[in-house]
């Protein structure tokens, strides 16, 4: 298995397509950081307008806040970039004609498919680390640190500077599981196709469809919302919500709704395990005609 995994990683990182996602995220993050550096104060003032006479002391637009703004946008788009690789893992080999060569080698199909999946996971992890370096560490370097000021729908959250970093670590960990779920969808669809366009488009369509269903406040869709993986992908934000004590003071190091996070992780894990088991089953039964 280890040897197969090494081979799969070698193939992924020798393909120029692999680096599109790294380049695209770097360009996007740099552009947004530049924009916030130039016009960030106006953005912060705009945010504070709705609060009326609210006295803010210290640096509102710091690295932590910039990172939060970036993640809100990126964790919608990064899944699409992960799809480019995941949905190509099996169908791309079928298209190249190498799948038949690969599956006639002395390894079980289960080992080959799992090696491909684990390689996709490692790719996703590296992409996420790349995003973390650019969005968090570069933002801290450029904008400095400070308390994290967040405006939720109905209330404001102010997290102390020394209580923020671990929340980002947890949020990135959660985002990893969410991205693997997306990768699993692409990977599963990849088993049915003989070129990667179909599964890539199908995966993106599913993400868009599920997201739209999740945002429509119609009772007919609300019954299925809890089962859509896209509903649970945004739960990373829960790491940035604190509990308060009886005096309405934030409790440092606390998380407001930990059961929701655990519930979402379980739902996403069920998706991952179910989709990968199904992919292995399909590939074990499949006649290779490509």
């Amino acid at each position: 298995m280890w040897q197969l995994l090494q081979i799969e990683l070698y193939k992924i990182f020798r393909r120029p397509r692999t680096y599109i996602a790294f380049g695209a995220t770097a360009a996007l993050i740099t552009l947004m950081q530049f924009g916030l550096k130039v016009d960030g104060q106006e953005y912060a003032d705009f945010m504070l307008q709705s609060l009326g006479s609210f006295d803010v002391q210290g640096k509102l637009l710091n690295g932590y806040m910039v990172c939060y703004i970036l993640l809100q946008l990126l964790l919608v788009h990064v899944p699409l970039l992960v799809t480019l690789i995941a949905a190509d893992m099996i169908s791309g080999e079928a298209n190249l004609g190498t799948l038949r060569l690969l599956l006639s080698k002395p390894y079980s199909r289960t080992s080959i498919i799992l090696a491909k999946f684990f390689a996709t996971c490692i790719y996703t992890l590296l992409l996420l680390i790349w995003v973390a370096i650019l969005a968090l560490f570069v933002s801290i370097f450029v904008f400095g640190t400070g308390d994290l000021f967040l405006m939720k729908t109905e209330y404001i959250v102010l997290i102390k500077q020394n209580d923020v970093f671990w929340r980002y670590c947890c949020a990135f960990g959660f985002a990893f599981v969410a991205l693997i779920t997306v990768a699993s969808v692409g990977f599963f669809l990849s088993a049915f196709a003989e070129n990667s366009i179909g599964p890539i488009v199908a995966t993106m369509s599913i993400i868009i469809l599920f997201t739209v269903l999740g945002t429509l406040n119609l009772p007919v869709f609300q019954t299925i919302n809890p089962y859509l993986f896209t509903t649970h992908m945004v739960i990373w934000k829960e790491f940035f919500d604190e509990k308060v004590n009886v005096n309405n003071e934030a409790i440092a190091g606390s998380i407001q709704d930990m059961p929701q996070i655990i519930h979402s992780l379980i739902i996403l894990s069920i998706y991952i395990i179910g989709l990968i088991t199904a992919t292995v089953w399909v590939m074990r039964k499949k006649d290779i005609l490509s």
């Binding site: 020798r14 190249l96 060569l101």
Partner: protein, 311 residues
């Protein structure tokens, strides 16, 4: 002789179509086993079943004396194959493709060994060039290098000459002969090029619509020294009458395309030619046909009682 491939009653059905139907055949050690059939005859499906790419509907496959479904890993370690097209990773170099597939086949080769392998197929100079810059012939040669890198006992080549120029076809023919005669490998080769197969195969299997038509050594199936010739004259009716009233009568075969067809020994073709001239027959053309090609056409069009040849 030890059997390397033993297939019994192998079938593959797709809904209403039988791609392979109760096919049985045996490849012995040292054979260059020619696997012939028209397009859609079931050759590739059979080869894919040998390589576990397609699950048979029924039947058994034994390789090296082991059941394929029970000893898949051990068996596939001893097989090198090119299946239809020699597709490799186009974004990698020839050297890196070879290294990657050597590892996947369980063979760890040194740089020197890998370059030697590429040298054997004439690709050493292009070892570090990306495969997307290669011609079809070069990809085919790389495919052969990959198929051989782990020193397999059985080599399966599915249409190895597809898309090759005459020089490339000749190179493949010489390589097959080298592998068989010098390296004592067993080869199962499917091809459309019957004249090429005639030059390399020691045993043949002809299938049609998934069913076996004939199997045997080339000597059992036909005599390569017996040549079919097509004769066209200014007056074919007169020539036909002359031949039917002569000793050449027994050589006459059914007519094709208004030409007279005769099956005679290669050595007496000049005598026949002289005899025609002496009898004032105006010859327009006298062409020899490949005997395997003719035999194949006879067998696949059902002109011959195949049972007499079948094992």
């Amino acid at each position: 002789m030890q059997s390397i491939v033993e297939v019994k009653n192998l079938s593959k059905h797709y809904k209403n179509i039988s791609a392979v139907d109760k096919l049985s055949f045996t490849v012995y050690e040292g054979d260059v086993y020619g696997f012939l059939g028209q397009n859609g005859a079931g050759k590739s499906t059979t080869i894919r079943m040998l390589l576990t790419l397609i699950q048979p509907t029924e039947g058994s496959i034994n390789l090296f004396g082991l059941k394929l479904n029970a000893y898949r890993k051990e068996i596939l370690q001893s097989i090198g194959a090119i299946i239809e097209k020699p597709d490799v990773y186009k974004y990698l170099s020839a050297y890196n493709n070879l290294k990657l597939f050597a590892r996947m086949s369980g063979a760890h080769r040194t740089e020197k060994e890998l370059l030697q392998q590429l040298d054997m197929v004439g690709l050493k100079e292009r070892a570090h060039d990306k495969v997307h810059t290669f011609s079809q012939g070069m990809k085919q040669r790389l495919g052969i290098a990959i198929a051989l890198i782990h020193n397999p006992r059985l080599i399966i080549l599915d249409e190895p000459t597809n898309g090759l120029d005459p020089q490339g076809i000749a190179d493949i023919r010489n390589l097959i002969l080298h592998l068989s005669r010098e390296m004592k490998k067993t080869l199962l080769v499917s091809s459309h090029l019957l004249n090429e197969m005639e030059q390399v195969a020691t045993r043949l299997l002809i299938i049609d619509k998934g069913k076996k038509l004939v199997e045997g050594t080339t000597a059992e199936l036909f005599d390569p020294s017996q040549i079919l010739i097509e004769l066209e004259t200014l007056n074919n009716a007169e020539a036909f009458k002359l031949i039917t009233n002569s000793n050449w009568q027994s050589a006459l075969q059914p007519k094709r395309n208004n030409s007279l067809v005769l099956k005679i020994h290669r050595n007496i073709i000049p005598d026949f030619h002289v005899w025609l001239v002496q009898h004032n027959i105006k010859i327009l053309s006298l062409q020899s046909r490949h005997s395997l090609e003719d035999y194949f056409l006879q067998v696949t069009s059902g002109e011959q009682h195949v049972a007499a040849f079948a094992n």
